[in-house]
């Protein structure tokens, strides 16, 4: 402990020679110099500068975020408060035909959520499946390669995904759309005039699903990998098949991590612009139809990208206003993700004390919470620092487990 302090207090120019600061000969023992430096409570310039820089960075990000929010609000106000019915600028072009701002942004919010939801419905199970394969099924070598490939997917620019969507996915989905329309057209989702060019929300959401795979996969994989080995081995030793082991040991442990991975994927899907703008044939309407040409709900981000270049001043303000709504939605999604992640630890801490008999099954109470969630946050923050699964105290669960089988 004292060693640590002495090193920290040394000026950065001479990190190794701990004695210099107190004016003693460099040969002195660390312990002595540490005591000396603790006595003189001087603030070193290096300390001060580093602290200033790191605090400054933290403050800066807050200022930037507040600045963006402020910019959005200030720019959006003229359009939100304008009378859309009588305003000449808002009555033409992209904003024509809406009685007020909310009537304009409403369908866009729906389209944003709807396309992201479909993408999530397709992408999340696949992403989790890939993560599970990498962490629990694949041979080690293959797992490494596969993990690398999935991460590589995150580096593909969205315009490339957009072009891939236009040239490959759209024609690829046409037969499916025709079949769905012919056979399942009575379901409202597949109703309407079936597409001939393929630019449907289904195609857009499919590409979106591919785009959110890397986020969901890499976060889930990290969490699956950190399932306490003891839990897994215990399950296997008790005769569980691998699937049963995953169901009873891995999933409960990683539950909140999966949820936050999914919500972060959702955040990515909500903000995606280029691919959607290129693939989908949009209309500013509230529609859930999947395979039509003209009834695909437009998303906020794509709508801004498509109309910003020709927008007049007030129309720009209106578009920025829709951007403000997207900002709010994204903030809400991320906050929900955080709440889900952070809300668990308390119950997680309780669990080791009270393995109550009322709970549904022993393994479902396996440390659902803090560790997996903390890892999720770490991964999000860009640090893949691995914690120690040991602190979960798995002993009570294992004894209970015996009773179960």
């Amino acid at each position: 402990m004292s060693d640590k302090i002495s090193v920290q207090s040394a000026p950065p120019s001479s990190p190794g020679s701990v004695g210099t600061t107190t004016g003693k000969a460099p040969g002195d023992s660390p312990r002595n110099s540490a005591a000396a430096s603790r006595g003189s409570s001087r603030v070193r310039p290096g300390d001060f500068i580093f602290r200033f820089l790191s605090t400054g960075s933290a403050v800066l990000i807050m200022i930037i975020l507040a600045g963006v929010a402020l910019f959005l609000i200030i720019s959006a106000i003229p359009a939100i408060t304008a009378d859309w019915g009588t305003n000449d600028q808002l009555n033409t072009g992209p904003t024509a035909g809406f009685p007020n701002f909310w009537a304009y942004v409403g369908p866009l919010i729906w389209g944003t959520l709807w396309s992201a939801a479909i993408a999530l419905l397709i992408g999340a199970p696949i992403g989790i499946g890939i993560a599970l394969f990498i962490s629990h099924y694949a041979p080690r070598r293959l797992a490494g390669i596969l993990g690398y490939l999935v991460d590589l997917l995150a580096a593909v620019p969205s315009i490339v995904f957009g072009l891939w969507g236009i040239i490959v996915i759209r024609p690829f989905l046409l037969p499916l759309s025709d079949w769905l329309s012919a056979n399942l057209g009575w379901i409202p989702l597949f109703g309407g005039t079936v597409t001939t060019t393929g630019s449907t929300i289904l195609a857009g959401a499919l590409v979106l699903a591919v785009m959110i795979l890397p986020i969901i996969t890499s976060i889930s994989r990290e969490i699956f990998l950190q399932t306490p080995r003891l839990h897994e081995e215990a399950a296997l030793a008790l005769g569980a098949t691998r699937w049963e082991m995953i169901r009873m040991a891995v999933f409960p442990y990683a539950k909140s991590g999966i949820v936050s991975a999914t919500l972060l994927g959702l955040g990515r899907a909500l903000g995606e612009t280029m691919a959607i703008a290129l693939i989908i044939s949009p209309a500013i309407i509230v529609s859930a139809r999947l395979i039509t040409e003209g009834q695909n709900s437009q998303t906020i981000a794509a709508n801004i990208a498509l109309n910003f270049p020709i927008a007049t001043t007030l129309q720009r303000d209106a578009l920025i206003g829709t951007g403000l709504m997207l900002f709010v939605i994204s903030l809400a999604v991320n906050s929900i993700a955080r709440v889900i992640v952070n809300g668990k630890p308390r119950s997680g801490k309780k669990k080791s004390k009270t393995p109550g008999p009322s709970s549904p099954g022993p393994l479902s109470r396996v440390p659902a919470g803090d560790f997996a969630s903390a890892t999720a946050i770490d991964v999000v923050a860009g640090s893949s620092r691995a914690g120690k699964p040991g602190d979960d105290g798995p002993a009570p669960e294992e004894t209970n487990e015996g009773a179960r089988f």
Partner: protein, 375 residues
């Protein structure tokens, strides 16, 4: 040894490639520099000879329809005036071009529509009481492209076109289409109209045409965003429309003629698009409706575009300049560049490299006269 061989082959290939590229580039620059003076001599509309000693940077941007022509103009202009750098940012679109120009960041804006009244008012703070001048420098046509198996030639009357795009006709074997195409066997395929999902000058020009020429059928407003909802495939950009029309079947869409590539274009009232037909349309139907002194905003009278050699859906795009620049040097540079653009030579350069139609010489003379008043 083996490696050495590979290296040697590589070196040879590189040398050849360099030689080839050097060859091609020198030949193109050579021809353009020699061709330019000779055509200038024969031209009817010429600005003052370009001052090759000018130096500086022109910053401009806006309409993406003009982008290919701008590139051609800049290349040809720099062949004569080497010291001037012209930056044209097409990513802004017409609206962004005007916004940035009004903010003072651009020396001129490229726009598919002239300044609106309120924009002209704001322009007075930038350019003094004379306001901004809309100079028509780019002419093209809106092509109607389609893909229909078994039909290689298609003619559509204005009325039928309006019916198709307003979704009043939904199948290809509709009597109205059949009446326009005697002797052609039309399939019963459903029609899918393909429009622009982004706001665009092409949409503006096309809807101008439809609402003026077929007001009883086309009741939607003229707009820079596609006003029809329903079974419409909306695509981003002219290239997106061309792609979707080509990939579908029974599809029909509209795009700048210079951007349609290999797509099949229908004839409108039996007139096929050609550069001459677009120039003829401008000469026949365009009238100047000035919003300021020296301004040359154009309005098409579509009812006059009926001749057998007049393409009925022309598309005109402007360069917007200040009547008085705050910086006399920028005024000089901008006048020099647009003077070249609005010369017969400049129009030929764009026609050859960007597929646009030359503006009639009569109008070019007016543009140059307006430009001469710019201070």
């Amino acid at each position: 040894m083996k490696f050495k061989n590979v290296a040697a082959t590589g070196a040879v290939l590189v040398t050849v490639a360099i030689a080839l590229s050097a060859c091609s580039s020198s030949s193109t620059t050579g021809s353009s520099t020699t061709a330019a003076p000779s055509t200038t001599a024969a031209a009817e509309a010429t600005s003052a000879p370009l001052d090759a000693s000018l130096t500086g940077t022109i910053t401009a941007g806006g309409s993406s329809a003009q982008a290919n022509a701008e590139t051609a103009w800049i290349t040809a202009y720099n062949a004569q005036v080497k010291g001037v750098t012209v930056n044209y940012d097409k990513s802004q679109g017409s609206g962004g071009g005007i916004t940035n120009w009004l903010a003072g960041s651009y020396d001129f804006a490229g726009s598919d529509s002239p300044l609106k009244a309120d924009q002209q008012t704001s322009a007075q703070t930038l350019c003094g009481t004379g306001g901004g001048l809309n100079l028509p420098v780019y002419l093209d046509g809106v092509a109607i492209i389609y893909k229909l198996d078994g039909v290689t030639k298609l003619n559509l009357s204005t009325e039928t076109l309006a019916k198709i795009f307003s979704l009043a006709i939904t199948t290809w074997n509709d009597p109205a289409i059949a009446a326009d195409n005697p002797g052609v066997t039309l399939p019963s395929t459903a029609i899918t109209t393909v429009a622009r999902s982004d706001g665009s000058g092409t949409t503006q020009n096309f809807t101008n045409f439809l609402s003026a020429s077929a007001p009883t059928v086309w009741t939607a407003p003229a707009s820079n965003t596609w006003p029809i909802t329903g079974n419409v495939s909306s695509q981003k950009g002219g290239s997106g429309v061309v792609q979707a029309v080509g990939a579908g079947s029974g599809t029909i869409g509209y795009a700048d003629h210079s951007a349609i590539g290999d797509a099949t274009a229908a004839t409108i009232n039996k007139v096929e698009f050609s550069q001459d037909a677009a120039t003829a349309a401008f000469a026949a139907g365009a009238t100047t409706v000035p919003t300021a002194t020296g301004d040359l905003s154009q309005k098409f009278d579509y009812s006059k575009l009926t001749g057998t050699d007049v393409y009925p859906i022309p598309l005109v795009s402007y360069q917007i300049v200040c009547s008085t620049y705050k910086d006399a040097k920028q005024a000089e540079l901008t006048k020099s560049f647009i003077g070249f653009v609005a010369s017969t030579t400049g129009q030929k350069v764009a026609a050859k490299n960007a597929g646009s139609a030359p503006i009639p010489d009569e109008m070019l003379t007016k543009v140059l006269a307006s430009l001469a008043t710019v201070k």
